[in-house]
């Protein structure tokens, strides 16, 4: 046996003095560690940039600019206006009269004409007329109107339009901005929270100011109902079978491989499935939340099955043995003992699956939920499922694809609302997990 001392260092060096090689190695160690920190920091920075960007671009969607004006319409004026050929024009005149008086009262002097009013506020006459025709009792009473400014004027406040670059057009003239400034200084033109965006329906392609996400949120809601009431029972039943009852043979092996693959199939493929099975083959209506829900159910099912099986697996076998030991049947042991214990985990997984489905866009493109203009709310429950509607992510995509840049702001605003829903759902899932978490 050879002695190893020949390979030992010739002199004993103190441990307290790092030799050159150790220094080098420690430097490499520090570098390596830094790579990790940098990688995580990049992720964090991106998240910050994304959040900042969403808030900066999306928050303005929640503000709208209105001209506030108190109008008192006498019965005589109403009758006179209604008897004319151009009824809305008559109301416009009434509005301008009131507007003038109001400005004089506040001592604002600014030149304007009827066309300028229309450029700033749209067709005010029509708005006022329809208000009075629906509220005949208010005739003779002072009524405060809040008239929404056109999207170009909003663009001026939100920085999309500015004085240096403005090109006079029939939508907005440079001179109009003087009026806008004067009105704002006088407090006639104010900003307020844009409820219409949160609760409203989509507008046409040329009116970004009036677009709201409310109708498509309802579409999403009905879709989620379908997903919840189909994927939870089916997913749980399938998991119980696979985890508790299925014999271990090649067939169940195949089913398992199939499920884990299905979870990784691109979502667009589920859209193709929905298009050809539900719409082409079963003739279900296009753009209907029912169809969207069915497609998303098939898409979420693997996710829910995987998480449910994990929850079932985490219930220790001793619980099953205990139940079987006192003479319960296998079915009873599962439904009376295992399932209740696994329920918190199952619910958490389901909520996370739903959140995923809520944000999913690609399959909805193919079943016609994009491109459909959600101008109306559904009439009732059946109509909620069956009538064409949009869904939140599809609505956001629709807006992003429109030409008018005013819609971008709406798209970001829609993302804020979508993310709030997702945050709430995930918070609920975390809450459930924390509250019912059980360690065996």
């Amino acid at each position: 046996m050879t002695d190893l001392s020949s390979t030992e260092p010739a002199t004993h060096r103190s441990l307290k003095v790092a030799d050159a090689r150790t220094k080098k190695r420690n430097a490499a160690e520090k570098r390596f560690r830094a790579y990790g920190i940098v990688a995580i920091a990049i992720g964090g920075l991106f998240l910050l940039a994304l959040t900042y960007n969403i808030l900066k671009a999306g928050l303005p969607a929640f503000t709208q600019y209105v001209v506030e004006l108190e109008v008192t319409l006498t019965q005589d004026e109403f009758d006179a206006a209604e008897s004319q050929m151009l009824k809305t024009a008559a109301y416009t005149d009434i509005f301008i009269g009131n507007f003038e008086a109001n400005l004089e009262e506040r001592g604002v002097e600014v030149p304007y004409d009827g066309d300028a009013i229309e450029r700033l506020l749209g067709k005010v006459g029509g708005d006022i007329r329809s208000y009075y025709r629906e509220n005949l009792d208010d005739i003779g009473q002072p009524v405060t109107f809040q008239l929404q400014t056109s999207s170009r004027v909003e663009g001026y406040f939100k920085g999309r339009v500015n004085r240096d670059t403005i090109v006079d057009s029939r939508f907005l003239m440079g001179s109009d901005l003087d009026i806008v400034d004067a009105l704002r200084d006088a407090g006639v033109l104010t900003s307020r929270f844009n409820w219409a965006f949160v609760t409203g329906t989509d507008s046409g392609v040329d009116n970004p100011g009036g677009a709201g996400i409310g109708a498509s949120a309802i579409g999403s809601f009905f879709m989620m109902l379908v997903v919840l009431f189909l994927s939870l029972p089916i997913g749980v039943a399938a998991s119980i079978y696979l985890e508790e009852f299925a014999p271990k043979n090649r067939l169940t092996d195949l089913v398992e491989v199939n499920i884990s693959n299905l979870a990784a199939v691109p979502s667009i493929v589920f859209g193709i499935l929905g298009l050809s099975v539900f719409i082409q083959f079963a003739h279900l209506p296009q753009s209907a939340p029912l169809v969207g829900g069915l497609v998303l159910t098939l898409m979420t099912l693997p996710t829910i099955i995987i998480s449910t099986r994990a929850s079932l697996k985490s219930v220790p076998p001793s619980i099953r043995d205990a139940a079987l030991g006192i003479g319960a049947s296998k079915m009873q042991s599962v439904f009376h003992h295992v399932l209740p214990l696994a329920m918190p985990g199952i619910l958490t997984g389901t909520i996370i699956g739903l959140a995923q489905a809520l944000g999913e866009t690609a399959p909805l493109l193919l079943i016609g939920m994009v491109g459909f203009v959600a101008r109306e709310y559904p009439d009732g429950v059946v109509s909620g499922f069956m009538d064409p509607n949009s869904a939140m992510p599809a609505q956001i995509y629709t807006w992003a694809a429109r030409a008018d840049v005013g819609f971008y702001e709406k798209a970001w605003g829609g993302i804020i609302i979508l993310l709030i829903f997702l945050l709430l759902m995930n918070a609920l899932a975390i809450f459930l997990r924390k509250k019912f978490e059980r360690r065996w």
């Binding site: 990790g36 920190i37 992720g43 039943a237 499920i259 693959n261 979502s267 944000g359 997702l422």
Partner: protein
């Protein structure tokens, strides 16, 4: 008989059956529940299940079969010599039939008037247009005839459906009730029934796969009959004609798969190092506190819907890249002319994949036994030496699996490329040019105005098929590797 009506009757019957079943069981034991074979609830459940399951099954089969049979019977009436596709003609027939029903429901027509309508004397298109049902072309006598036949058959079918389903439900009701005696093994029967339901639920996942495969295969075959397969798979130009029916389209697959691969590679170049280093840092270095912050942060990135990433690519990253690499940009290189480019989509997709790579790798690194680390530290290795020379080689198969799964994600990702990559198919080598992908073209071909049976639309199914096959192979392979890897350390 409407669907809701039938379903509610059957459910009511099941509920009554439950109550009666329980009562009958208890009385058969002379009120002494202890001598029953099963708990009394099982007798009720048995009746309820016997009522519900067969009748609902028949209802479901009927719902699928009836439209098929009616279509077949009605389409015989249509003269298809004009060369119109049968599915389009049938769609018209269906719409006319539904329109007539709507008209009757709204009171615009009496049932008699609708049944005796004559296409030569009435302008059916106008009439239906008035009540909000738009028909694409004038309604011919033949179409109207077919529509009347369709209505008749549907009507008969729906009554027959009601009777058959209710009859089955009632029969189940009577049968199950009659079987109840105190020795009847209700629990065993119920449990067997429940097991069948569980198996049915498990087979939904299999049916989904079968559905995907069938819908892709049939439509792909249709496409390949209208368009030569060689031109599709080996064509280097993607130029669908916009008229929808023109024969001049070039539907070459190569530029699309090139764009897909190009963008996926860019995204993996971003995601793999960042994700891997994040995972290494989180599993090997981070203190519990840092981990408790950084891990959820990465999970948030994973939870953001892809539409958000898409919008971010389109509206923020694209313009930013142009201001850096575009004309008069920061680097003054003029490489990039528009915001939508392979780079834009690739970068954003890379960020999206970071949490995907990191959480999978994190699991895999954690599966490497602590004994390996101890062995290495015991020899005086530093942490980074241990990670690079012991843990990484040990975890390599698992990590390769994770990267393949990420690649499959990247290939199948839709929204980011639809919004961020551009629309022009190109075989370019420059990452700063607009490119398009398989998924983006599936969307554009299926949401366009083209007729459904034209090659320009059907090509989407062929694209879907190739996408499905590619991702399936990647997934199966990757999942196999990861599974083998885990077994090694279990």
């Amino acid at each position: 008989m409407s669907l809701i009506f039938i379903v509610s009757i059957v459910i009511a019957l099941a509920a009554i059956g439950y109550v009666l079943g329980v009562r009958r069981a208890v009385s058969s034991a002379d009120g002494d529940q202890r001598i029953l074979h099963s708990l009394k609830g099982y007798y009720g459940q048995n009746v309820a299940l016997t009522v519900l399951v067969p009748s609902m099954l028949v209802l479901a089969i009927w719902a699928i079969a009836q439209p098929l049979l009616i279509d077949q019977s009605v389409s015989g009436l249509l003269d298809l010599e004009e060369g119109r596709a049968q599915s389009l003609a049938m769609a018209d027939v269906r719409r006319v039939a539904e329109g007539l029903d709507t008209a009757i429901a709204q009171g615009a027509l009496t049932a008699d008037a609708a049944a005796n309508m004559d296409a030569d004397t009435t302008d059916v298109r106008d009439l239906l247009g008035d009540i909000g049902v738009a028909i694409g072309s004038d309604v011919t006598a033949e179409t109207l005839n077919a529509a009347q036949r369709y209505r008749g058959l549907s009507n008969t079918g729906s009554w027959a459906r009601g009777f058959v389903v209710l009859a089955i439900a009632l029969a189940g009701f009577a049968f199950a009730l009659s079987r109840i005696t105190k020795d009847f093994r209700a629990r065993n029967i119920v449990e067997r029934g429940v097991l069948v339901l569980l198996i049915a639920a498990a087979s939904v996942a299999v049916l989904t796969t079968i559905g995907i495969v069938l819908s892709l295969i049939f439509n792909t075959i249709n496409f390949l009959q209208a368009y030569p397969a060689a031109d599709f798979f080996f064509g280097t130009r993607w130029e669908p004609s916009f008229s929808g029916r023109g024969g001049s389209s070039e539907l070459g697959f190569l530029p699309l798969i090139w764009g897909t691969m190009f963008i996926s590679v860019i995204s993996l170049i971003v995601a793999v190092p960042l994700g891997l280093f994040s995972a290494i840092y989180l599993s090997e270095y981070a203190s519990p506190r840092v981990r408790s912050i950084a891990k959820p942060m990465l999970e948030i990135l994973a939870g953001i819907p892809t539409i958000v990433y898409g919008l971010f690519a389109l509206l923020t990253v694209g313009p930013l890249l142009v201001s850096a690499f575009g004309q008069g940009g920061f680097f003054g290189v003029d490489w990039m002319s528009g915001g939508t480019a392979a780079m834009t989509a690739g970068l954003v997709m890379g960020i999206m994949l970071i949490p995907f790579v990191s959480s999978l790798s994190d699991d895999i690194i954690n599966a490497v036994p602590q004994a390996m680390r101890d062995g290495s530290y015991g020899l005086g290795a530093t942490q980074s030496e241990t990670i690079r020379q012991v843990i990484m080689p040990a975890a390599l198969p698992g990590i390769v699996g994770a990267i393949l799964l990420a690649a499959s994600r990247a290939i199948g990702e839709t929204m980011i490329v639809v919004l961020g990559a551009g629309a022009a198919a190109s075989l370019s080598l420059s990452p700063f040019e607009a490119m398009t992908t398989v998924t983006a073209k599936i969307v554009s071909q299926l949401t366009g105005d083209g007729e459904f049976n034209s090659p320009e639309t059907m090509v989407a199914f062929a694209l879907g098929m190739t996408l499905f096959v590619i991702t399936l192979c990647l997934n199966v392979f990757a999942l196999y590797i990861v599974r083998k890897y885990r077994e090694q350390y279990d």
